[in-house]
Symmetry: D2
């Protein structure tokens, strides 16, 4: 089998290391380079013992020729790393937010920097395959979605696209702690995070504009309102988003049964979204690229509720990035991503 060569920029965070794990086992990929400035010179297996068998050494910069690069840098630094790669003609999947937002004005507003390559925002594709598959096929630069947006957009897209709900949406998300990354912080210190639930970024989380951009695009009227509130819960992996909407007058009179049909139709051909018959649990996605979806209608109030579950490091990050790569290179979309969830 003809394999492509792949590199990971900043392998030392959780998205990076999860990319390495999956790419190493991918049948059509040779993972040939992994970078990480602070750990340059170390074996990957020294930093992450579970990847000892790769034999890879971490380098300061991407060395050698690669067909595709994954940037797992933080925002701003990622754009700076990606721009020269684009010039060299390397196809890129960027895990950061740096190419997700179409409007350059959003960057100073939400991320405190002026975008260094606004022209790339026009050609970059928002890498949610369920929404933009055909553009991803041809893209040289894919902006991999945030973890919360992946769970929220997939939960709400069928409703918004078909104009079934009022524009006023609520997304209440519960995330495992790995979503905050490997950088040490007090809220992710074990003794503070265990046995604890907290809401955060109530004045606005950076994933808010991304959710809004994609739902606005889907919405026939062009504009929705989203109240997004993220929470952390004491587990390593997983996001469960509980999404609340109100049916438009005269719509969704068929209740849960109609909702089930709408979602099933919408995601009929998707390999990684799965409708479930019972409210889903994050643990049922552990280690897999699945997004579990459960739409329902609150009996007493008629409010539409959609629950989605993903593994934030797989469908919410590395797995989706590899799904995007598969699409870009014409591989089977599920290549390297077939592993069943591990339970319990």
């Amino acid at each position: 089998m003809n394999k492509i060569k792949a590199g990971i920029i900043n392998v030392t965070g959780y998205a990076g290391v999860e990319l390495a794990r999956i790419l190493w086992q991918h049948p059509q990929v040779d993972l040939v380079a992994v970078t990480g400035r602070s750990a340059a010179g170390k074996k990957l297996g020294e930093v992450f013992p579970h990847l000892e068998c790769t034999g890879l050494t971490i380098t300061a910069e991407l060395e050698g020729k690669v067909d595709v690069a994954f940037s797992a840098m933080t925002h701003k630094a990622s754009a700076e790393a990606v721009i020269p790669l684009m010039k060299k003609g390397i196809r890129v999947v960027d895990m950061s937010a740096d190419f997700r937002l179409k409007d350059p004005a959003r960057y100073p507003e939400w991320y405190d920097f002026t975008h260094p390559a606004p022209e790339l925002l026009k050609t970059a594709v928002y890498g949610l395959p369920e929404l933009h598959r055909s553009q991803i096929e041809a893209a040289n630069l894919v902006a991999n979605p945030g973890c919360y947006p992946s769970s929220a957009i997939l939960a709400l897209a069928p409703l918004v696209k078909h104009d079934l709900v009022e524009a006023d949406l609520i997304v209440d998300s519960k995330s495992g702690i790995s979503g905050a990354g490997r950088t040490l912080t007090l809220p992710t210190h074990f003794s503070e995070a265990s046995d604890n639930v907290r809401a955060y970024n109530l004045s606005g989380h950076r994933h808010q504009p991304e959710i809004l951009q994609e739902l606005d695009n889907l919405c026939p009227s062009g504009s929705v309102s989203v109240t997004f509130v993220p929470h952390t819960v004491p587990m390593t992996r997983g996001i469960l988003s509980t999404c609340y909407a109100r049916a438009k007058s005269g719509k969704l009179t068929g209740g849960k049964e109609e909702l089930d049909k709408i979602f099933s139709d919408y995601y009929r051909k998707e390999p990684f979204t799965r409708m479930v018959q019972q409210p889903p649990e994050t643990k049922h996605t552990w280690g897999s690229n699945l997004c579990l979806l459960y739409p329902t209608m609150h009996e007493k109030t008629g409010r539409v509720i959609v629950i989605s579950c993903i593994d934030n490091l797989v469908k919410g990050a590395a797995g989706q990035a590899i799904q995007n790569m598969n699409i870009m290179f014409g591989f089977p979309e599920t290549a390297g991503l077939e592993a069943l969830p591990i339970y319990p």
Copy 2:
């Protein structure tokens, strides 16, 4: 100091054992009797080693004379246990749902039984001191609120009472696993519950009518709508409720500042509700009777959000029951409940 004698019916569940822990240390109470059918004859310290020092023996039935009894039986069985106590003139705090709902018709609807003593529903007082303190003082039967309702009603009461928000409310609650009790079930089995978040009872949780009853009572127009969705998260104790409302037209134009003032005024004299300046975390209530409250307004959408945190076994159960007892017997309201939260 003159002490009253107290008994606990069904000490072997988590509400019961938490009652025992707090009552044992209460300066004005002698805990003289604890019952539990399956464990009758055993020492309390055999079942709960942390209470070995009490020296108490579990009996099948409440023995001896008590001034106050706490029933920690499950619904239906609790009513059956409480009725004869009332006849004997013993004052009762009932931890079950059996006397919380004023309308007897709610019992067959939500709890699958016909209420055996509907006349008691008229005199029983819903034991949320922040709402019904003066009635509790005189009550012979106090219906201790459910854990979720305690967190939800305290979060929404100031807004509903002052007619500041639309009637259409959402309560998204995240609970520790102890809320499900000590009865063995698959969802509370460690390997299934750890590293997991799930929503449940989406077609209607039994705490729904209780929340509705109390908010309806507070609401000038007499009626609100509540979409209540409970979730479990992998921790032992704590409930965090994220409550969503929409300001009525022309109301709450002062934003968070106005919200803070409204809440501070509303709960000015309360010993156990505390306004906090940062979004609260359940871990900050561990082992204490506090309810932490954080009202705010979502910047982008103008939606009102109130977050509340409690320890589900204390303010959500045993602590509140003892707060009610203190009020009933004219003790200082904080007696036995002064312990600071334990952190981390």
Copy 3:
């Protein structure tokens, strides 16, 4: 590729479901039958949503023709299930203890039943491939080792085999809660098990005779003494065993360096044992069939310490069973077991 047909008896426990997950993805196996009495008639995906894609239905009894059967029944019941399979000429990997102990007298002593087929104990092979590979190749009945013994025997085998340590050994094991299975019990109830460490079975755990039998066999003098103390810790998967021994006079004078060489030599050709340079952590084995080994010598006391880590449901149960099957059927030993650990 020519595939064999496999069946799982009692798929509804954690060993059973983990067998199903791995076998389903095994390149040389068709998983054609899964049984479970209480869940008979249900889809496997109803009981375990992460296996929905298998489409399998749980049956009461093993139906159709299989080349290999895995029994994940509890002891005694497993022997009763295995005996008729043996008569039909089906090769069996038994996950229970029923064929692990060579001496029939051990069964009434440790498991409270008289063995129904003592003649099978003679031909059954103890399925620790690192010790008995060549016998496993030819075996019709493989007794898959217990989870604790897998971790303990692999940690101590090189020392005992080479007669390097005194006969007086200590194994202090720490296990995740899934080791106790899916049956509901109070010690595995989330609120009791979380934030808790406990020792148990101090008067003798059933894995004790198994550890002893295998180490006795390895020992040139034919007899060792093992003090085995199991503990549970609040995590789902993983066993870490800390093993203590005392070097024989004049032996192991080369310290850690010599220990490293002995272990490396002993396990040179093994695909699943891995010597590590830092004390291992259970999380580095999550979901994989690896056994991580770290031998060292306590600087101040000269005592030999060996630490081993496994995933109790993989190398400690289902993974090792499939490793045994691979050996029995001449497949590559790592077939179906190549997945890297998932971290974090």
Copy 4:
């Protein structure tokens, strides 16, 4: 009641904040000063919301007059803070290791610094009340024991003191993560620590010499050998130590019954050590100053095993410090420490 004034140096770590929690509720103490350099000027309630009600402000240096100071600084810095306090005549309980070891040579060996006040090592008292109560009464400087040593020494003291076991001891300890403090590190990062067990400091943990010093002192022959191996497990609080010893020839022939009597006699008058009838669990000590003890004899090997459980932040740190203070000032030894454990 006549109260003493107390101050805490470095309130911002977990030992410091736990001291604050308990001292604030102590009937004979006014907590008047809390220091913390990085947080100087902040309200204690800003850093630790559960202590908001104290109204205390963190200062850079200890201000005002105190009768007793608790130093919760790290080693070396603590000695530097304590020396001037001693000169001022303030009685001190030092939580660090700086005055625990009698031999000044141990400091460069284990802690990498030359002790600045070796003369104080002669008068400082090792603050394990069960061993040194009468000296503590008169002490001006008490060195509060380490968390692991508290659990290990209490488990082994009766055996060593009465010369019942061979000198060759093993202590296998399992600790919650809070024992590593509030300083951010990778091993205490939630995603790395959760679902994980690891051994650490295998080449020698700093608590080793402390355990040895105290057991040597107790031992009639003056010298024991201790192999101490610490582990972390994914819980916030608690230490369980499993201690292994071998009975001397002809000793302890009475088995568990004799062991029970020896321990009961040895700790007869102690308020905080408790013999238990079942193997103890750390969760049964949560938030309390208890040390649970369970001595037994391994049936098959005759090895003596003693299991001890403490809350590492209470009996292993702040609670024991306050117990020491109570003894120093002639208060009831249990003052401020009567709270029952919180379970579950």
